[in-house]
């Protein structure tokens, strides 16, 4: 088979595995597994961006693929691993999550995302147009993960996973945003991540734990 026909199929496959990783993240309780999965998600993203860059012949996308590799596959997971180790949180696991129900809700979200993405997919001219629904689903699933988790680090991983979904959405709908914007987003992400890292230490200093259930004093009585 001619390679140019294979790329769209391969991209679909990568998109599906992105979704699969999102579901795996939803079902994992251990923090360290989550970080590994996040790194995997980044790598899939990197490969798919490379493929899109190759097939569309866009130099810009090569840069953002490199950015993805550096930031999301290498730097962030590494820092997260180090952080968890320094905070002694690598064996933390969540206890309060009812996973089958979460998965069921996730399934509903996937259907919803596909429904939302239909009109966009029909309009798009990119070779990746079918995967916009999956990108949206990845965003929603990360959102769900942030809602259901109670640990600071897992919430952050959810946040980063959401950003991955957004990046994938940008790649599949429009071959990526303009480079300036892409850089700005990456910068914001990095800065935000560092602020969160500072937060981890502040929270642990104050509460002796990274469990966010302590952070529930500010409520309307």
């Amino acid at each position: 088979m001619h390679p140019s026909h294979m790329i769209p199929e391969l991209l679909k496959l990568l998109a599906a595995s992105l979704l699969l990783i999102s579901f795996a993240m939803l079902s994992r309780r251990r923090t360290q597994r989550l970080i590994t999965l996040f790194a995997w998600q980044g790598s899939v993203l990197f490969v798919s961006t490379l493929l899109v860059a190759y097939s569309a012949g866009l130099t810009e996308l090569y840069y953002s693929a490199t950015l993805t590799l550096l930031l999301k596959v290498i730097a962030l997971p590494w820092i997260l691993h180090r952080l968890t180790r320094r905070l002694g949180a690598q064996w933390d696991s969540e206890t309060l999550v009812n996973i089958p129900i979460t998965m069921l809700v996730g399934l509903g979200l996937v259907i919803f995302a596909f429904g939302l993405a239909q009109p966009i997919s029909r309009m798009a001219t990119t070779i990746t147009r079918n995967t916009i629904g999956i990108a949206l689903a990845v965003i929603f699933l990360a959102f769900l993960m942030m809602i259901t988790r109670r640990k600071a680090i897992t919430q952050v991983i959810g946040f980063l996973a959401m950003e991955n979904g957004l990046f994938f959405a940008a790649t599949s709908a429009t071959y990526g945003m303009p480079m300036v914007i892409e850089l700005g987003i990456a910068l914001d992400l990095l800065v935000g991540f560092f602020i969160l890292g500072i937060f981890f230490f502040q929270i642990r200093e104050q509460f002796d734990s990274l469990d966010l259930s302590h952070l529930e004093s500010l409520k309307e009585e």
């Binding site: 429009t174 914007i181 700005g184 935000g192 509460f207 952070l215």
Partner: protein, 484 residues
């Protein structure tokens, strides 16, 4: 060139304060940089008044009648807040709540925050707008947790996560916008995200995609506006951060976030050709106004109380933009201005009031007039102004909004009246014993900088009694631009 100076000065300030922020003169440096920015903005405003709207730097930045008045407002409140924060933060430092290092962080982040807001207001690029909004959030997160208490950490975490998620939705909306624009404008020349270009071709943008994009943009930026069901972060962040930060959050950040929503609304309405975006704004606005008003009743913390009041007022402004049309837009712009001025002055006095009483709990604050008449009367007048008492400007804008709503959407009037009535009763009942009553607390060690309070209130009063022609023209031009 003026534009670059406006953007560059706060950045320079952030850099300088990051270096020298721990010195004793840091607060003066902060105020000085803010003043310099204000002067630069004044020149910019003069130029726009004389030559009309302008584009700069490959059209990446632009000033039109809508954003120029927000730029002026931002620079002004930024400067007065810097003035206020000088004695306020000194007292906090003396009381051992903050160290020199924290003050350095505070001053530097303050300037960075101003820079991010100017960038958000001045950029013509919807993607850059997103980046600037996110930068504004990031720079304030550490300010909210400045005291490093449990409550402030919780508030900052909530602020970060909620706004982070919200802003992620906005990014998706922006991606969709780019997607739709790319079909019309193409990828070349980076014009596909420029608002001026988008505005020119808004009729050709695919309505279904833009409709979807608007939902995401509204949810995303709406979280930062503090629109009701997404408002959870707002009262916490206002209550737990230092008071100057509460003042700029309420007075400026909410405005800028709403500005982003309105820019999007203009595009989407032009593309869809229906009132749907307006209706969505009205619904969210009304909900926030009513919910915010009812939550006022249950507050014990003075800064939380006025945080909820901000939700209520942002709701009213959003509602007015939702109605659309020249009069409602005019009223909304006016209300934006007066709310921002009044609310920041209230936070100034509330900050000093809680410093005097050593607590933010309203039960503990009593007899402010006796201790310091300026603080007491400042709080009283500010509260009366925010409650919409004539002759303050808030009355004028609320009156305009109410009459327009009665004429165009009569069913909304009872809700608006309930919100205003409930807010009035709740705030007045709580402020009255704080201002009058008995107390034996000693006065503050540093004389509070209450000049900004009375300047703000004087402007609000003036806007209620007499509006300068130039300003009215300005508002009218902006209202026309927003249309709807």
């Amino acid at each position: 060139m003026d534009l670059l100076i406006v953007l560059g000065l706060p950045l320079l300030g952030a850099l300088l304060l990051a270096l020298f922020g721990a010195r004793t003169y840091a607060a003066e440096l902060n105020a000085g940089m803010s003043f310099a920015t204000l002067v630069a903005v004044a020149f910019l405003v003069l130029r726009v008044l004389r030559h009309g709207s302008l584009l700069a730097l490959h059209e990446q930045f632009f000033v039109d009648s809508f954003n120029v008045f927000l730029v002026a407002l931002t620079a002004f409140v930024g400067f007065t807040t810097a003035l206020f924060s000088r004695p306020y933060m000194r007292i906090e430092e003396q009381r051992g709540r903050l160290s020199q290092q924290r003050l350095r962080l505070y001053h530097s982040m303050y300037q960075l925050f101003m820079a991010a807001m100017f960038l958000a207001l001045l950029t013509n690029n919807m993607g850059l707008l997103w980046v600037a909004m996110e930068a504004a959030t990031l720079s304030t997160v550490l300010l909210v947790s400045l005291y490093r208490t449990r409550a402030s950490l919780e508030a900052a975490w909530k602020y970060f996560i909620l706004c982070g998620v919200g802003i992620a939705q906005a990014l998706f909306g922006t991606i969709l916008l780019y997607f739709a624009a790319e079909h019309v404008l193409g990828r070349q020349g980076m014009t596909a995200l420029l608002w001026t270009h988008l505005n020119a071709v808004k009729g050709q943008l695919e309505p279904r995609v833009l409709g979807l994009a608007f939902v995401f943009l509204l949810v995303g930026y709406g979280t930062k506006v503090g629109l009701a069901p997404l408002h959870n972060w707002l009262p916490d962040a206002h209550a737990e951060g230092p008071t100057p930060v509460s003042a700029v959050l309420s007075g400026l950040l909410l405005n800028v976030a709403l500005y982003a929503v309105i820019r999007c609304k203009v595009l989407v309405e032009g593309s869809i050709g229906s009132y749907l975006p307006g209706r969505m704004l009205m619904t969210f606005g009304l909900l926030s106004a009513v919910l915010g008003a009812f939550f006022l009743w249950r507050q014990r913390d003075i800064k939380r109380l006025f945080g909820y009041s901000s939700i209520e007022h942002m709701g009213i402004i959003t509602f007015a933009f939702g109605i659309g049309g020249p009069i409602a837009n005019f009223a909304a712009l006016l209300h934006m201005t007066v709310h921002s001025l009044t609310k920041s002055s209230i936070f100034f006095t509330a900050g000093h009031a809680s410093q005097t009483a050593h607590t933010q709990q309203m039960d503990g604050i009593r007899g402010l007039v006796g201790i310091s008449p300026t603080i007491g009367w400042g709080l009283m007048l500010g509260s009366l102004a925010i409650l919409g008492m004539p002759p303050f400007g808030v009355f004028a804008s609320e009156f305009l909004i109410l009459t327009t709503a009665m004429r165009e959407h009569p069913w909304t009037t009872p809700f608006l009246l309930i919100a205003l009535g409930v807010a009035f009763a709740a705030i007045f009942r709580k402020v009255q014993p704080m201002v009058f009553g008995e107390s034996d607390a000693p006065p503050l060690p540093h004389s509070p900088a209450l000049v900004p309070v009375f300047i703000h209130l004087a402007i609000v009063l003036m806007l209620g009694v007499y509006m300068p022609f130039a300003l009215a023209d300005w508002y009218r031009a902006a209202a026309r631009l927003i249309g709807g």
